[in-house]
């Protein structure tokens, strides 16, 4: 339970839901505005608008699903399904899911799947959801930054395990992330150094990663700053 200075008492899940609700008002508004404009469009322009509406809708649905999954796993409604997962294939799939959304924002995705390493043991759907939710935030953040730096999906060997995450050009620091983890669901822009708005995808991702005993942390790799999770390679598979 987090109690903020203005008297609110909300559970972590309630705060997450508040942030999610605020986040979802954005794509729903985008869709409503697209429909308003499409009413006056020529056919070709209308087709483009519907493509945008579709991409935005799918991204939002994915975010809702990710949140629902985190609730179910935390609440032990759905058990974790642990299996060997290759991080590189995970990143490929994440990039594939993000591509239509990134295209609408005119943001390039770059993939650095990392070295061949032993797989990790994880729930693939949980990890996938976490990275995709995180990816949506980074796409919007890069577009807001108005620079041509791509969003990089990257994995590399770190000191404590496999570091998999998303990177872009930002000034996000560890203290900002810690502060944001206190403020999400309560401050309207808990990660304003990264992106405007509630950045719900970050906290949904964090909630999902916690089911795998991992947390999001600020990471720096090859000149870019991002958010990543450190995942442990499977000891059992190492011996195989």
């Amino acid at each position: 339970m987090q109690q903020n200075g203005d008297g609110a008492q909300l559970s972590d899940q309630e705060r997450l839901f508040l942030g999610l609700a605020e986040q979802l008002s954005r794509p729903l508004l985008q869709i409503a505005q697209l429909a308003e404009l499409a009413a006056h469009d020529e056919l070709a322009a209308a087709h483009e608008r519907w493509q945008t509406a579709a991409a935005v809708s799918h991204a939002s649905l994915q975010l809702v699903e990710s949140y629902a999954l985190s609730l179910r796993v935390h609440g032990k409604v759905t058990p974790l399904h642990l299996e060997p997962v290759t991080v590189s294939s995970l990143l490929y799939d994440t990039a594939h899911h993000l591509q239509p959304f990134a295209k609408q924002y005119d943001v390039e995705l770059q993939l650095e799947p990392g070295p061949r390493v032993q797989p990790i043991i994880a729930d693939r759907a949980v990890l996938q959801s976490a990275l995709t939710s995180l990816g949506q935030v980074f796409v919007v953040a890069q577009a807001e930054a108005d620079e041509r730096t791509p969003v990089r999906l990257s994995a590399h060997r770190g000191r404590h395990g496999m570091v998999a995450g998303l990177y872009g050009k930002s000034t996000l620091g560890a203290e900002s992330l810690r502060r944001a983890q206190t403020l999400y669901g309560q401050a309207r822009q808990p990660l304003e150094h990264l992106v405007s708005g509630p950045a719900a995808g970050v906290f949904v991702a964090d909630s999902l990663l916690r089911t795998l005993a991992a947390r999001l942390h600020v990471a720096r790799y090859r000149g870019l700053t991002g958010l990543a999770a450190t995942l442990q390679p499977s000891q059992q598979l190492q011996l195989v």
Binding site: L29, Q30, Q33, E36, E192, L194, V195, S196, G197
Partner: protein, 127 residues
């Protein structure tokens, strides 16, 4: 009229620009407070449409900076934001000191209503 649109979300900015253009205005887009000052410097706007939630420096900071320039003191500002008006505890200050002529809550404002607000904001006051 020339409108300075301060909107961080690219898709939003595209839709709003198209609506304002269709209503007969020229539009300069800015994704942040810093960019907005630069755009205003390039071409003085007749009206500013402002999202308060911006990356790095919020819309209130922008307004205080904007109003520190003598030639920009009287340019009307329409706030068009995800922040609900009821949460702005200093809404009176926004109006009185920072020249916000109208505050629109995005989820409850159509593009048509926004265009009407912009037209109204820039209309000369009847003597």
């Amino acid at each position: 009229m020339h409108v300075l649109l301060i909107e961080p979300d690219r898709l939003q900015a595209t839709a709003l620009t198209q609506a304002l253009t269709q209503a007969g205005h020229s539009v300069a887009q800015a994704v942040s407070a810093q960019a907005a000052v630069a755009r205003a410097d390039e071409r003085q706007p007749d009206v500013v449409v402002l999202e308060l939630q911006l990356p790095h420096h919020n819309g209130v900071e922008f307004l205080y900076e904007f109003r520190s320039y003598f030639e920009w003191l009287r340019i009307p500002v329409v706030v068009h934001s995800f922040v609900p008006p009821r949460e702005l505890k200093h809404a009176v200050t926004l109006a009185r000191e920072l020249g916000v002529v109208q505050t629109l809550y995005k989820p409850q404002t159509t593009l048509q209503q926004l265009c009407a607000a912009v037209a109204h904001a820039a209309a000369p006051v009847a003597s």
